[in-house]
């Protein structure tokens, strides 16, 4: 790979809103129902039916806009995007074209330092249905998803690496989940991402020609697609070829992107204002009302964690990524003497035990706090801390009682530990010899054995000191 290229990325993220009902009718938006059980003449686009805008959709979109520092348009409208496809029963999608609800916002990411990523616009639109291709060649249409409300969040081309994209998406997702605008479930398609990517020589002022990769729905695929597409474009340029502006499909199996259609054959969507709907006019009072419903957002919490508890930026960022985790941390932090220890417990042990998509820590805040205290006070060592954390995860309870019951208290008493260390050294003359001949790391083995002899409950610092002393003799 030539090191003198950089990638320029802008994202279009589609997020399904968490409204109870669809955007233009009163059908349920619940995921996973039997095909075509959540649709009606309106979302099926039957002749003579008319859309009526669900006001919750506007509220949620405004929330998302305010949470990403957008300007909220006092006047916006809905437009028709016309194209034929069997998953689109009206043969047009109601979206917003030139007057979106929100514009000119940004969000901040932490990726080797703080960076601000511009948000061009957020607009509302309806989702299409789903086509199910049958093994025998037939295709079935499921219109349950038809009319589920979406917001499309379009970023500026401010992203420069797959890591930044990852950080941006995680931040955006957490904001949407915090505000209750979306459930953010990528595996259910609640969050889908189109990646616009171009490359240019580092330092160049002009952008290169971009390609668009559509409908990526996992962080893993997004990362792979970006890596592949970056390499493909750089190699093409290096070979003297030019990049074609086109839509490309990422194949999950091969990890490659394939051309779908170029700009020349792109559909002409014949956008025009939907005459069935009236313009959306929002007063300042309305926007203020919505603003009041926005909870403390990740950035605010992160700053507080760093200031109050002295957490590192990256640690604080990870803690706030999921609202439920941040809530659990905050509840426990109030009850412990050492919030940093608590944070590290959650970040290392909690994150390890949480399954993909899980955000619920099954340990009561007071027990988490107590566990952190036991560690901070030296009453248990780290290994025991991990062990107890895992036990509490399985069955919540009082960590002190658990430690007592299993006799897991840390042993710091020299008169107990010194004889154990002496006998370990006596049993391992070769290791002692190699340490003394200059192999410093040999000491670690002796410390480990002594810890083992202490049933894993020894105070590591005390053991180390004793072993060091014995070796010097």
């Amino acid at each position: 790979m030539k090191p003198n290229y950089e990638m320029v990325i802008g994202l279009e993220v589609h997020a399904e809103l968490k409204t109870e009902t669809k955007i233009f009718c009163s059908c349920s938006t619940a995921f996973g129902a039997a095909p075509n059980t959540q649709c009606c003449p309106v979302c099926m686009g039957m002749p003579g039916t008319l859309p009526v805008l669900n006001e919750k959709v506007v509220e949620y979109a405004v929330k998302a806009g305010l949470a990403t520092h957008c300007r909220i348009a006092p006047f916006s409208k809905e437009d028709r995007k016309n194209y034929f496809y069997p998953d689109l029963p009206k043969a047009y999608q109601i979206s917003q074209y030139d007057l979106p609800l929100c514009s000119q916002g940004y969000l901040e990411i932490e990726c080797g330092g703080k960076k601000r990523i511009g948000i061009t616009r957020i607009h509302i639109e309806e989702d299409a249905g789903k086509l199910v291709h049958q093994p025998d060649g037939g295709t079935l249409c499921d219109y349950n998803r038809c009319g589920v409300p979406l917001i499309e969040i379009v970023s500026e081309p401010d992203l420069r690496s797959a890591d930044e994209v990852d950080a941006y998406l995680k931040k955006l997702r957490s904001i949407l989940v915090y505000t209750g605008v979306s459930d953010g479930k990528m595996q259910e398609g609640s969050l889908r991402c189109d990646v616009n990517l171009s490359v240019r020589k580092k330092g160049a002022a002009e952008f290169g020609t971009r390609t668009e990769m559509k409908n990526l729905n996992s962080f893993q695929f997004i990362g792979k697609a970006i890596a592949y597409e970056f390499r493909r474009q750089v190699e093409a340029l290096e070979a003297g070829e030019s990049i074609v502006q086109e839509t490309r499909r990422f194949d999950e199996k091969t990890g490659k992107t394939y051309s779908m259609r170029s700009k020349e054959d792109a559909d002409d969507y014949r956008y025009f204002p939907d005459p069935d709907l009236v313009p959306i006019e929002l007063s300042e009072e309305y926007v203020e009302q919505v603003k009041k419903t926005i909870p403390r957002l990740p950035d605010e919490r992160k700053a507080a964690y760093m200031e109050q508890y002295g957490l590192k930026a990256a640690d604080a960022e990870n803690l706030v990524s999921e609202r439920e985790i941040a809530d659990a941390f905050e509840a426990a932090a109030k009850q412990t003497k050492d919030a940093r220890t608590l944070a590290h417990l959650i970040l290392s042990e909690g994150f390890r035990l949480l399954g993909a998509g899980e955000t619920q820590i099954p340990i009561a805040p007071e027990h988490l706090a107590k566990l952190a205290d036991l560690l901070a006070e030296g009453r248990i060592n780290n290994a025991t801390g991990k062990k107890l954390f895992a036990q509490l995860w399985e069955r919540d309870g009082d960590p002190a009682a658990l430690a007592e019951e299993q006799n897991l208290w840390q042993i710091s008493d020299e008169s107990v530990l010194r004889p154990l260390a002496e006998s370990v050294l006596a049993r391992n003359p070769k290791t002692v010899e190699s340490y003394r001949s200059g192999k410093v790391q040999a000491m670690q083995a002796l410390i480990g054995q002594t810890m083992g002899a202490a049933g894993g409950q020894g105070n590591p610092a005390v053991i180390r000191r004793i072993v060091e002393e014995l070796l010097k003799q």
């Binding site: 003449p41 099926m44 686009g45 039957m46 002749p47 003579g48 039916t49 008319l50 859309p51 009526v52 805008l53 028709r80 016309n82 034929f84 069997p86 029963p89 009206k90 043969a91 047009y92 249409c141 002409d268 014949r270 956008y271 025009f272 005459p275 069935d276 709907l277 009236v278």
Partner: protein, 478 residues
């Protein structure tokens, strides 16, 4: 009692209330009339005698208990076939919807619940046309002269009312589709202010212009029917949130001091002298009743027709895209893939005029042409509205012809779409501006064919329009 099939809905209602006539008797009389006259008129696409009689019997029972559902309870009427009727085939006179049976009612059908619905009426396919010759199924004949068209697109509605095949009918008016056939057949057509009547269940032609309205024997019936169907509908975002008082409240009041404007552009080139004469005579009659006739000018009129065809076709191209052969309606045979399914189904399912307008509409919205056509037309729309605003701020009403000629011969213009389009010049501006207007007979031409006059008013001024129309109706009858 007069012959039942010549009575107005108001008179039928009175007779039923007085116990002189049952809904069943009236409905049977109409069904008999339909049976006798349909072979000549061909106004109906679907006749629903069983439903009508069942509804009539139910209405009679209600009336017996003193529980009439609505002022039109038990009155036999018929519905244009682009208004969805639950469990009754609704075709839009298109092959595309030959077997389409809506599982829901249009909002107006709920408002009219209690009527004895005689059936569904012929029209130009998807309401595109001015002669009802664009129906996939049949040609409707003008009851006043069977060799002539009934006008369109609500030609079936106008013909049924004129022929005594329905006491009243619902139609829809996108560019004159109620007023022009009313004029051709010699009945009263009322196109309400945009947003007064819910469009839910009206199969859209051009959403920003479409409005359901009434075709009746006289002005009073128009008020009776509008009272029943008007009102805000939460299912139609463009329906206006407003309370309405009796639209017939001003009927019978004099018109002394009313200012009636005659914009000279409505009386210029292209208007048949005999039509002009009849409309000017109507102006004289209004003047004779104390109205002040004011000559004025409406410069935007000459651009209105072009703007109308751009806007209506643009909207239609999108509204009719859902008829793709995938979910319901006509699907062609012998396709290899989804694009062929679309192409063949739409090519075979739509008629020539519909396809012409879809093409026009797709063109004016396409990249590179949008500004020159659609955007420009929307600017003209603003100009037309301003002109009307100005004239109607200084005057109460505008009086104009409905169409440049009386009813023409079947086949006379069908191969000349442009001439056909020109016939809409006097009616489309009203739709562009969303105004209410009524069309009513004001005389006859040399051949004895009815000539219509159009009265246009400010938004929500239906009661004033009907007041003046009632005066003219009485005067014209003399």
């Amino acid at each position: 009692m007069k012959e039942i099939c010549k009575m107005t809905a108001t008179a039928l209602k009175a007779a039923m209330e007085a116990g002189e006539l049952s809904s069943r008797e009236a409905t049977e009389a109409y069904l008999t009339a339909i049976e006798e006259r349909e072979k000549d008129i061909r106004a109906y696409l679907t006749i629903t005698p069983k439903t009508a009689l069942a509804q009539a019997d139910a209405a009679d029972k209600r009336r017996g208990r003193g529980e009439a559902l609505s002022p039109l309870d038990g009155i036999p009427g018929a519905i244009k076939d682009n208004i969805c009727t639950k469990n009754v085939r609704t075709t839009c006179a298109s092959r595309m919807l030959e077997n389409f049976v809506p599982p829901y009612d249009a909002t107006v059908m709920g408002k009219l619940s209690g009527i004895a619905m005689l059936g569904k009426l012929n029209m130009d396919e998807f309401a595109m046309g001015s002669s009802t010759e664009n129906s996939f199924y049949q040609i409707t004949h003008n009851p006043r002269d069977l060799s002539r068209v009934p006008g369109g697109s609500s030609g079936g509605s106008a013909a049924a009312v004129a022929a005594g095949e329905a006491a009243f009918a619902l139609g829809s008016d996108t560019g004159g589709s109620i007023r022009q056939p009313a004029a051709f057949c010699g009945v009263v057509g009322l196109k309400p202010t945009y947003g007064v009547v819910s469009r839910f269940g009206l199969i859209a032609f051009a959403s920003s212009l479409d409005q359901i309205g009434t075709l009746t024997r006289d002005v009073r019936d128009g008020a009776l029917l509008l009272n029943a169907i008007a009102g805000h509908d939460p299912k139609d975002a463009t329906s206006v949130k407003r309370e309405y008082s009796d639209f017939g409240a001003q009927i019978g009041r004099e018109i002394r001091g009313m200012r009636v404007a005659l914009p000279k552009e409505y009386f210029g080139e292209g208007l048949h002298p005999e039509v002009k004469e009849a409309v000017l005579a109507a102006a004289k009659k209004l003047e004779g009743q104390g109205a002040e006739i004011v000559e004025t000018s409406m410069p935007s009129l000459e651009h209105a027709l072009a703007a109308y065809y751009v806007i209506s076709c643009a909207e239609a191209s999108s509204n009719l895209a859902r008829f793709d052969g995938v979910k319901y309606g006509f699907r062609a045979e012998g396709y290899e893939n989804i694009n062929e399914l679309y192409d063949k189904s739409r090519s075979e399912g739509f008629g020539r005029e519909v396809k012409r307008r879809i093409l026009l509409g797709s063109f004016v919205l396409s990249a590179g042409y949008y500004d020159a056509y659609y955007k420009k037309a929307m600017q003209v729309r603003t100009l037309v509205k301003r002109d009307f605003d100005r004239i109607l701020s200084e005057n109460d009403l505008i009086l104009s012809p409905v169409a440049p000629t009386a009813a023409y011969k079947i086949g006379e213009k069908i191969d000349d779409p442009l001439t056909m389009y020109m016939g809409d010049a006097y009616t489309v501006p009203v739709n562009i501006a969303g105004l209410p207007a009524v069309s009513l007979p004001c005389g006859t031409d040399g051949a004895g064919l009815p000539v219509g006059a159009q009265l246009i008013g400010k938004p929500f001024s239906e009661a004033e329009i009907l007041r003046a129309a009632y005066v003219l109706e009485k005067e014209a009858a003399i």
